[in-house]
């Protein structure tokens, strides 16, 4: 068993010394799990996620976790995660695209069951036709589950979001699961610099009694407990309890926002707040948006970036404020449905200034030039397209 010192969570997240490593996104996620005092991880293979759970399996074999196994499939894996968390453990799993959808009945039940688990979502197209590439349309399916959804831009975000998620999800006034999403391959299989907390320090263990609902362990009253809303009692009780329960789940989701401010520096990052035209993006698209801002600067165009880190809770107020004076808003995305553009349009009053796209899908890369085309469109600049034969 490797020696790890339990340290204060706030200190570890905000003040602990950091060491710079050049690692993949998958490594960054596993390194965060290693420092999070996780009890159990449950795995099921799917590309591009598998790399993460291989690495988590390795750290279990090294003694950092108490339990780890390869489940029957994602529905079983996510159900067993719910069981483990009810039993009092801190639990982690990860999945991708079709695996997420296979597990989503169980995943969507976690918030209602008050399961503070952390789930890595390493995006991949949702079939068919079969592909394994990093389209992120699957995040659209997560938006209405009640869980907190974070979207990481790079390897550093993956480490920071994952480690902080264990702390945020177990806050008594939150106590719902958190999905840490990032693009498969682009982030999971590519290396970047990550400033990491010391390997020999970890979060305090989960205290299952510091909770708004009791664990299912026969150790704590009430004795007669089906912890979840007993909708089987009667139809009247069912309507009432289910309604109240859903309100509470979404209120918990909103209450996570203050911790997103505390530990992740807020739900958005703004580059060039006085810009005329803004690019609003999350995940990998934010990295490309950042590059587009640089391109635009070189051409003397006043373009800014709003990187959205938290998709749920969605930072409506923050985005509305930043975009209030923007002339146009460009929302580049790695999916065809434009789920982020819809969220942005729903958050601002003058949403006819939102230019949906560019969108790439099927897992294609998002060239900065595509974003620049929209920037020129926003500024009314006509550029001749160079066609190279």
């Amino acid at each position: 068993m490797p020696e790890q010192k339990v340290v204060d969570a706030d200190w570890l997240l905000l003040e602990a010394p950091r060491e710079r490593k050049f690692i993949t996104g998958a490594q960054a996620m596993a390194e965060a799990v290693k420092r999070a005092n996780v009890d159990i991880a449950i795995a099921y293979p799917i590309t591009p996620q598998s790399e993460v759970m291989h690495l988590v399996g390795d750290i279990w074999a090294q003694g950092y976790l108490k339990d780890y196994y390869r489940a029957e499939e994602e529905y079983g894996a996510m159900s067993a995660i719910a069981g483990a968390v009810r039993g009092g453990a801190r639990a982690f799993s990860a999945t991708s695209g079709p695996g997420l959808l296979r597990g989503i009945e169980a995943i969507a039940s976690w918030p209602g069951h008050r399961i503070p688990a952390v789930l890595g979502v390493l995006t991949r197209v949702v079939n068919a036709p079969l592909s394994i590439q990093p389209d992120n349309v699957e995040i659209a399916y997560l938006l209405h589950c009640g869980m907190v959804v974070l979207h990481a831009e790079n390897q550093q975000d993956v480490f920071d979001f994952t480690l902080a998620s264990f702390v945020i999800s177990e806050k008594v006034d939150v106590y719902i699961p958190i999905a840490v999403c990032t693009e498969g391959f682009f982030v999971t299989h590519a290396k970047g610099y990550v400033n990491m907390t010391p390997e020999d320090m970890k979060l305090p263990p989960r205290d299952p009694y510091k909770a708004p609902v009791p664990p299912t362990d026969c150790e704590i009253p009430p004795a007669r407990i089906q912890r979840d809303a007993p909708v089987q009692k009667s139809n009247f009780m069912s309507y009432l309890i289910h309604a109240v329960w859903q309100q509470e789940v979404w209120a918990s989701n909103r209450r996570a926002m203050k911790y997103i401010y505390k530990y992740l520096g807020g739900p958005i990052e703004v580059v060039n707040p006085d810009a005329e035209v803004f690019i609003v993006a999350s995940g990998c698209a934010a990295a490309q948006g950042r590059e587009a801002v640089r391109y635009a600067q070189l051409e003397g165009l006043n373009v800014g970036l709003v990187k959205v880190k938290s998709i749920r809770p969605f930072p409506e107020r923050e985005i509305r404020e930043v975009l209030s004076k923007a002339k146009a808003v460009i929302v580049p995305e790695h999916n065809i449905v434009g789920w982020l553009a819809k969220e942005v349009k729903a958050s601002i009053p003058d949403n006819d200034k939102v230019i949906g796209g560019p969108r790439v899908y099927g897992g294609m890369t998002l060239p900065v030039e595509l974003i620049m085309e929209k920037v020129y469109e926003a500024f009314g600049i006509k550029k001749e397209k160079k066609v190279v034969v």
């Binding site: 079983g76 069981g83 483990a84 639990a91 009945e105 299912t216 362990d217 026969c218 007669r224 407990i225």
Partner: protein, 286 residues
């Protein structure tokens, strides 16, 4: 044991409802010899029930709850269906998660409780219907057997999806006409007790609930073996009298008839299970 969680604050004793006080003073806690013979004299862990009058499933639930050797440290994971209607009436820590994932949830709970409470016995029992166990939940049920999870799985086989209005299930007998099988079921009843044996269960029993004492013995064996060896499986016939057109007082006769044919008592155990069962007999616990 966690009997203390049933103890009422003395200051509040006089204002607590009788049925809650009875749980503390008249239920059988901390006594592994408890059983169905206590039913007339002790407080039951099930407070009324919400099933149809005369439902054999309600009998099964009462016998099982009376037979748990360690109720104060027993967690029951159930699934959607008629059984799930009863769980809010049961004075134990129970879980209703989804339809079909009961064995996966139980796996997670059991594994965590093993290391959280290394010095205590925490029994995890799955209790679900035939649809949950063999149709929608087949994957999770079998894989928990393959993984040798130390849980007891009890299937209430009423040979039909009763709670959703009487549809054919994998355990309906061939030829029987139910909804979604308007021409009669086209293939055979799944012999799940055999599949459980082939999948690694260490103790398997098939029976009706016509004999309370036999139910008690089987449940205790299944729980003791699961505790020490690995997965166990109990297949109970609990006919849906409503869906097969019987009256409220016909359930027992229906089960007695099936005792002679497709639900004739059948029991299987591995040598490791037999060792546990013999030891428990010597200890006077079976």
């Amino acid at each position: 044991m966690s009997f203390k969680i049933y103890e009422i604050n003395e200051e509040l004793l006089d204002v607590m409802p009788q049925e809650i006080r009875d749980l503390q003073f008249k239920a059988t806690w901390g006594n592994p010899k408890r059983g169905v013979m206590d039913l007339p004299y002790s407080k039951e862990l099930i407070e009324e029930h919400s099933l149809c009058a005369g439902c054999p499933e309600s009998m099964a639930l009462r016998y099982i709850l009376a037979s748990l050797p360690n109720p104060e440290d027993t967690i029951i994971v159930n699934s959607t269906g008629c059984t799930s209607l009863v769980f809010p009436h049961i004075a134990l820590h129970t879980v209703h998660s989804l339809f079909g994932n009961q064995n996966a949830v139980a796996s997670g709970i059991k594994r965590v409780l093993e290391w959280r409470f290394p010095d205590k016995v925490k029994d995890v029992v799955v209790l679900a219907g035939d649809g949950a166990t063999v149709d929608i939940g087949l994957d999770c049920t079998l894989q928990s057997f393959f993984r040798q999870e130390k849980i007891t799985t009890i299937c209430f086989d009423n040979e039909v999806y009763a709670n959703t209005g009487g549809q054919e299930s994998g355990l309906t007998v061939k030829g029987h006409v139910f909804k979604m099988a308007p021409k009669g079921k086209q293939w055979d009843k799944v012999p799940f007790w055999q599949i459980a044996i082939d999948s690694g269960c260490h103790y398997v029993a098939r029976l009706t609930v016509s004999s309370p004492k036999r139910v008690e013995t089987v449940i205790k064996k299944a729980i003791y073996v699961a505790r020490e060896v690995g997965p166990t499986y109990v297949h109970l016939y609990t006919p849906c009298i409503l869906e097969i057109g019987l009256n409220s007082d016909d359930g027992l006769d229906e089960m007695r008839q099936r005792d002679k044919e497709r639900f004739a008592f059948f029991e299987y155990m591995t040598p490791q299970a037999e060792e546990v069962i013999n030891r428990k007999k010597e200890e006077g616990l079976l």
